[in-house]
Symmetry: D2
Subunit: 409 residues, 4 copies
């Protein structure tokens, strides 16, 4: 806490917690605070954050607000979806993928304004602190990092509120008490954890969900859509070209309406414990299914299987915060190389929580009807080849079998 800091760039949401941090930084470090508020599609107005920062004494030139939605989807979400990344078989990494971009922007602002420190509002028990800080350190190795939740003694809600009151920080009425759970949100997902969710034996109460309607309340008729892909990235819905962020927003709407993308999960954090979270990734869930769908006809088996083998490591790297690490970039290079012809159209059926790929077509299709048809055709497939194929694949197994037999094993 005795670090000597002159100017700090804070990831600032405008909410109570980061407002307390703002004030705490000012009072504890006696340093100039620069706020950075980003629109990643969390669904909140940004202007109130500016007003609040001004109110808390931040100089206008020290308030940075930026709409990052397109950059977020184009340079972070889409590359990750090219990898079909899923953590622990289920989690679409909605929180994880946003942190590196925020970290990058904070460092850029720090360079611009000559700040020597950055700060964030992530707690000391979670993954986000790691993701932020690995990003900071990778991009600016000599930066000083202030993680208030690891440093201060405002460990209970009461203390936090008391600090806020003592420093004239406005407190919204509904923030006075304990929140029944904590939330993170961006264009890719919303997540909730803590409090009422902490018993993994208990079903998630319906009021925790915010991005999707209950599948039971979704329309009784399915919705059919098409998604077009170019080189592994979605580019159009129902034939209409859309920018990355607009496209994801549209998929979110479609997913929300059809109750798609809810996930109730116990996951393993990088910091070592298990935690129970609830995720809603409506658009992402559709996107993943569609991407696998277009890959299924345009990607060669060797490439597809290699991707499947590399994916768990890729997902782990993203989850753990190693976005800017060379090994993530190496895997990305391999994955991107595979996406050159992942271009075409997928047709999907959305219905009460289900995303079903019902059709795929592509001028790059490797699916060859002549090859698979049961009717014998003028095709480059000779049934007799299969015998040789099997016999040489079996050769080592036969040798093993002979050993067993010979030695009576």
């Amino acid at each position: 806490m005795s670090k000597d800091v002159k100017k700090v760039v804070l990831a600032y949401s405008g909410g109570l917690d980061t407002s307390v941090i703002l004030k705490w930084l000012q009072t504890t470090y006696a340093c100039e605070v620069v706020t950075f508020t980003a629109d990643l599609g969390q669904g909140e107005e940004l202007e109130p954050a500016r007003q609040k920062a001004l109110l808390l004494g931040i100089k206008p030139e020290n308030i940075f607000i930026e709409d990052l939605r397109e950059e977020f989807v184009r340079d972070y979400v889409f590359p990750m979806f090219r990898a079909n990344a899923v953590y622990e078989g289920q989690y679409l990494l909605g929180t994880s993928i946003a942190r590196p971009l925020i970290a990058k922007k904070q460092i850029e602002i720090a360079e611009k304004v000559g700040a020597d420190a950055v700060s964030h509002g992530a707690t000391g028990k979670g993954n986000d602190q790691v993701r932020f800080e690995l990003g900071y350190y990778a991009l600016k190795p000599d930066i000083t990092i202030i993680a208030p939740w690891r440093e201060w003694d405002l460990r209970s809600r009461e203390k936090l509120i008391a600090f806020a009151e003592a420093h004239q920080i406005p407190i919204a009425k509904d923030k006075r008490g304990e929140a029944p759970f904590s939330v993170d949100a961006n264009l890719l997902h919303a997540s909730s954890e803590g409090k009422v969710l902490e018993d993994p034996a208990q079903e998630v109460p319906d009021y925790v969900y915010s991005r999707t309607i209950d599948p039971e309340k979704a329309p009784d008729k399915p919705t059919y859509i098409t998604i077009d892909f170019e080189k592994g990235d979605a580019t159009a819905i129902d034939g209409k070209k859309l920018s990355p962020a607009t496209l994801l927003a549209k998929l979110n709407e479609l997913g929300r309406a059809n109750g798609i993308g809810r996930l109730d999960l116990v996951e393993n954090r990088f910091v070592g414990m298990k935690s129970r979270g609830m995720y809603e990734t409506p658009g992402g869930t559709i996107l993943l299914a569609a991407h696998r769908g277009i890959e299924s006809i345009t990607l060669d088996r060797g490439a597809a299987h290699l991707k499947d083998e590399l994916m768990p490591k890729y997902a782990e790297l993203v989850y753990n915060g190693f976005w800017f690490a060379p090994e993530r970039e190496m895997l990305q290079a391999a994955i991107d190389h595979s996406q050159q012809y992942v271009t075409g159209r997928v047709r999907l059926k959305l219905y009460k929580g289900n995303v079903i790929v019902v059709g795929r077509e592509s001028k790059y299709s490797l699916y060859d009807q002549d090859l698979v048809t049961f009717e014998e055709g003028a095709v480059a497939y000779d049934h007799r080849d299969a015998a040789g194929f099997i016999k040489l694949n079996a050769l080592r197994l036969r040798t093993l079998g002979q050993r067993k037999k010979k030695l009576g094993l």
Copy 2:
């Protein structure tokens, strides 16, 4: 075709195709034919197969009929589900996993009756021929294999029917024409491919499905169930102990009723081409979700992530027919080692195609509420540890950053 064969054990379903094979073997090889008909839960009576075999001149002592359902689920399906095996991200390997068992039984019968050959009805373009034959060769390296579909010239439906008529093989009325698709079924799944399914751009017609009702026609109210696990295997539904096969059958019922487990897929065959298939795995789909659910609280992160990394290779081995290969057994040894404490209860919600894990509990749970709670407790977690953890994880990234900076890269 000039192989000298005295006695052949045929995997015999009693249907038209294998009846033609039976007769063709007799006429082409002038050899004694032994039939083996297994109940793997495909949902067909076995006695008609016996009658038909007798009718076709098979001696009573050469007709083998066996109920393999318990062995199938206990020794093949369950070990595979311990691995959470999914091929190409989606396929639950329902056909693949049945072949090794049939191959094993044929070889056992061949040893018993002194047969020098085995035969099967798989075509020359598919994966099943590989799976059967790798099994045969691994278990009896000197066996002779007869794969009629690769040898004969009955390449069209007409020729097949003509052969059947010429040899007095009874032909069911609905078998005279071309089937609109071909089907495989066992206790784990039913699959269809070919003909009407061959255009991957066209939605699978509803009449192709046989194991599940359409999610749109499933009940409007969700069904809640619990599944108990012991050492990674399911042992009870709603608290009621069931044998492996009975349990899977019960899950199939539940899945069927709730429209669960349909899959429309373009997959990559081992023999080199893509094919489009439709799979229904109602019980298996529930089982996989439940197994991941109980693992989520009982399996350590290191074990879980290693399993996820090994899974694609495991699934590929099963898909390709390498069940009896040493590397599959090695992976199984690793996986089984991890399942010692995968014991507990999972609660699931089944609703119109959705399987949702809503609760998990276990006396072996590694989920520790004290560790994750946001409230500071008397727990072995010190927020300050996170700083050191992050700094050492970041060290190499900082060194990379310093290099970049120093050299202006």
Copy 3:
């Protein structure tokens, strides 16, 4: 054998075997034969091959001779060494890596001269037939492939000689009898297998080696050299810039003189059996050690470990002949991405079979003396960080330990 072929491009060495093939193609297929003879550094004159082809009736415009040494090392050997590729822990893939290039050139010539077929002299039991043919098929899917060793009945040496005599093919005296082993050679290596080497319990006789002197006869004084690398490729020896092929040739000389690079191995062939081979890779052995040496200071741990994990698969792909497969290219993309700063100088000691890296330096070095020194300095390393690092890494193990203790496991 009844394939209808008009013009075939044969990989022609000028030796007895491929001369017999040449004639056999003419007589069996009644087709025009185009010969392709490449200099890959096998150490043989190419002009005699031209003379022999002319003698056997090949038209001058159908004789292609090309010096591929630079292309071979630059585009095949070097990329492979960037991966540190070693098959089954030991084999440097000297034969494997040459086949794709020959295949590629044959196809290019086939396109140019309008040939509809290609042919090679690899036997039906080895890996090389696979490597050649996977290359042919990948680059020209409709090509016809003639593999005489799989087709003809010249299965014994006697028959081969008789055919040669009958067709006026000159036979060198020493080729009349059985060769005591068969040899493959190029700029990267020489290999021998067969006959006298077939008993893996027997030591390889010294006369089999041709590229290296016996370590026991190598100089008693060590030789010191430096190798410079740029982006992962060797560029200079002892400070002197050399082209890829010249550099490898120079390393071969150095290796030969110091008895470096001999390998006696039982390996697993792709076609399913084990075989015993003897390899000499003098320059390559030095190159691999040097490359690992420069990587050790310029490559980040994450990148290095990922490379090590991917390497066995990469080596298997090259060994099995999948050079032109998408998954090899994907891995290459990942590997090449890592090599951007693998630039610097390695100092090596060569002595009687030993290659010892004794020094490495680079302006891109990530080795930071300040970080590792036992003396405390002004460095970004705080001993206390290690406590937190360890405690969070231990957290899941402690939770496992607590479970054990609580339940008395």
Copy 4:
């Protein structure tokens, strides 16, 4: 440092550093110190450690001395060699593998004497602190760990000596000054790092080596030996059965005499920086070569390649200190499963730093001379099978090629 500790078990070598730690623990924590001194084959007498402990006031019943050599080799070294474990392509993990055993013994003693803490002499920058402490925590999650080098302020040699003098700790004359490098040793290896070794561009001076003679000074005649294996473990040298530790000691002698097993390496530490070390693993180097040799004829390709793919992860786990982690045990289960028939005899030639496998034989051999011979025999290998094998392996590549051609890509 304010931890409340009653009794601590110290890993005590009897040397100056751990003697200072002993005294520092007594004075700082005012706690009872229990010493544990193990013989892991480091080559030092243990009785002086007992005398010194007594001299420093340790009660006789608190002094534990144990010969762990057999357990070390049997339960740690041998399982690791079954995996052919090599870290970063080169390091045989000699230090890494000893730490878990020491940790285990300390915890056993702590349980026995009712100690609430353990302590070790590893520094705050190295890997050993991690290895010790992950072991402690895994085996006794509630243990208190004291790592003096991370806590005290005796950061320079002078301060350490001053503390020793102030507390009447005897100081050997040669320990007064700075050691030119630091050493770790056990039956598997000796390593050195620090000081004179810190510049990776400079060759390791010959006086640093202690376990091997300089290859240049080794005998001019090679030494031939045989090693017998049973289920993957070495059991005899030159036909003479030896216990694990005796066998490794014998291999060390042989390796020493022939200058085998020196390694000069820049490696990546788990704590994040690169370090330069020098390792001597004479017996282990021979053992690894021999083990690969016997595996080459007894292990199936599928098993061998899976082992090669898993190895880097296994080695990383051991290096990082995760010996007692479930994922290491899972990998071990897979590896051990593969070793059932890794039984037989390997013949090796040792010569001036070289270890050359010159022969292998086993009654479990999978090497089948009939299969590989160039002569056609009565073998289960039909050259024509290769054509089918290749064509189906090529099918997907041809489809890719057709796509390219059709679309002019």
